[in-house]
Symmetry: C2
Subunit: 335 residues, 2 copies
């Protein structure tokens, strides 16, 4: 059987990862080799810069194809942070550009929440919470998508890394001032990470990556909670509740009865590294809000999700529903 080369792409705040697999070969249990760029695609005032994305993607794709002697791509799936809200230029420019440059026959442009979903649950119905610095929940019954939160660190992302870190730093500064609700354990942790807290505003406000700086404090909140600090445990309990709220809201409409017995919920992303101080209350909250839904571990990451979507696209086995901004599929040339 002829090789059917497909490309998966994951583009986000820390750069771009690209992987090539043969969709005609038996699935490989290991993650495929990936090329990585640590240069995040630029976002301008009118959205994600399509030319800057292509500038990085095309050489990586050509390099991967040349390694295997491939000449065209049966399918490409690109998952990008911001695709749904500021991906207009990608949707307008990538189909023709990729067909021209790489002979791509089918193209999927997906929100990174969709590739996170596909990485975590494949094409099965359920809910995936993608939680790292930010937090978004996405659910599907394979007919429609439902999204909850994902509004960013000033408007939501409740329970995500930046939220936990920010709430922990607030509690540290309450302790410093002597206001109610403070935690001296978090104050000590904040001083160990950032130095004297008088300098904290100057260390955080001028930075462009404020959400990531806030999120860098989240592991300290988890450690303080594990060591018995009640304020920290309270912050993680509230985070767990917010995360379960988002999961419950994104859960497919009408799928609350027996027909949802096979549905699954998975958490994916760096927030899981906080371990038991978050995961124990989160499991309890999820059991309370979604009692009939199985809690499972994510199978793979968003890059694995992109590869899976590209493979499904090339073999006519796509089951996840298309959507005008979350997940747009274009057939550029018949196979």
């Amino acid at each position: 059987m002829t090789a059917r080369w497909v490309l998966g792409v994951d583009s986000g705040g820390s750069g771009m990862r690209v992987a090539l697999v043969d969709a005609a070969a038996p699935p490989d249990a290991d993650a495929p080799p990936a090329l990585v760029s640590t240069n995040p695609v630029r976002t301008g005032s009118d959205g994600i810069d399509a030319a800057h994305l292509l500038e990085q993607l095309l050489p990586m794709a050509r390099s991967l194809l040349s390694t295997v002697g491939g000449e065209s791509l049966a399918a490409v799936a690109i998952g990008a942070a911001g695709m749904a809200t500021i991906g207009g230029h990608l949707r307008a420019e990538l189909p023709a550009a990729l067909r021209g440059a790489l002979k791509v026959r089918r193209l999927a442009l997906a929100s990174d929440a969709v590739t996170a979903y596909a990485g975590a649950l494949g094409q099965r119905p359920g809910v995936v919470v993608a939680a790292g610095t930010g937090l978004v929940a996405l659910g599907t019954d394979l007919t429609n998508w439902r999204r909850a939160d994902g509004w960013g660190h000033l408007l939501g992302d409740s329970g995500g890394g930046a939220w936990i870190g920010r709430t922990g730093l607030e509690a540290a500064l309450r302790a410093y001032d002597g206001r109610r609700g403070g935690s001296t354990a978090l104050l000590v942790a904040a001083e160990s990470l950032f130095g004297a807290v008088e300098g904290l505003p100057a260390a955080i406000y001028p930075r462009a990556d404020r959400p990531a700086v806030l999120a860098s404090f989240a592991p300290h909140v988890a450690r303080c909670a594990a060591e018995g600090d009640e304020v920290s445990a309270g912050i993680l309990a509230l985070a767990a509740r917010h995360i379960a709220d988002a999961a419950g809201t994104a859960y497919p409409a009408g799928a609350t009865g027996r027909e949802s017995d096979g549905y699954e919920v998975a958490l994916t992303g760096g927030l899981l590294k906080l371990g038991d101080p978050l995961c124990v209350p989160l499991r309890a909250e999820l059991s309370g809000q979604l009692p009939r839904v199985r809690q499972v571990s994510a199978t793979g990451d968003p890059l694995a999700g992109s590869v899976l979507l590209a493979s499904a696209l090339s073999t006519d086995s796509l089951r996840l529903p298309q959507h005008s901004t979350l997940f747009q599929v274009s057939v550029l040339e018949e196979n």
Copy 2:
């Protein structure tokens, strides 16, 4: 009696205001005429730019002096946002520069919280909460200062305008998603102010004045609370509690018994414009936390506070305590 010209300066995020008065004349009940610059003093990576401040201040001061035929200044008081944390260059450069350029004999360099205090309570002991976009509480027994909060919109300023606005927008988006704790009244208000909420992240995150944009939603939270929205009322009740926490923490140490019967607490700044939905729960919280302290209205604004401090400095009647960063007084030349 010879006129004793003194200058008060208020420098902050919206620009600089400068007023000249004769400290030897009877106090005027009306606010003195002020010159205004709408060009905020620049802040560089190493703090507030002293040269840029002087560039604006000197022409305004000379213009005011020439109007009255004055030739030197008995005292100048400058209140500036950021003086305590990033005012190092101002403390290093302004004394010599102002002595040289304007024959200034005494100089006070104050945090804007200190000039807000002096504007609100004059030189009487107590606590002042300066609340607009941000929030800081400052108290004194005329021996020491105590500060609470004032950490900015990501780390604190709990109960201030940006905090109320952000919390209100979070509740609006909860309603949009269908998560718990949402308010449809706030969702309608957010859409009337910012348009379709799908565009809210793009309308807020790229802006440099994010705290002010968040604070612009606070009056809508107050209006929704006045119209019976329980989520909005809950946000303002929590804001009131945070504000009273800060006031209680900044309250002079040890002054909780009978000796504090004459002490006062005042709120100053734009947040008062939210009216009863905030002020009614705030009065109740303050009565609970500081039962022996009289709640009074602020007498004047931070510019009036600067003028009062400059006058006191020129007449040897300064009672507010000096402090290395909050309130530094220099005698440049004997009167």
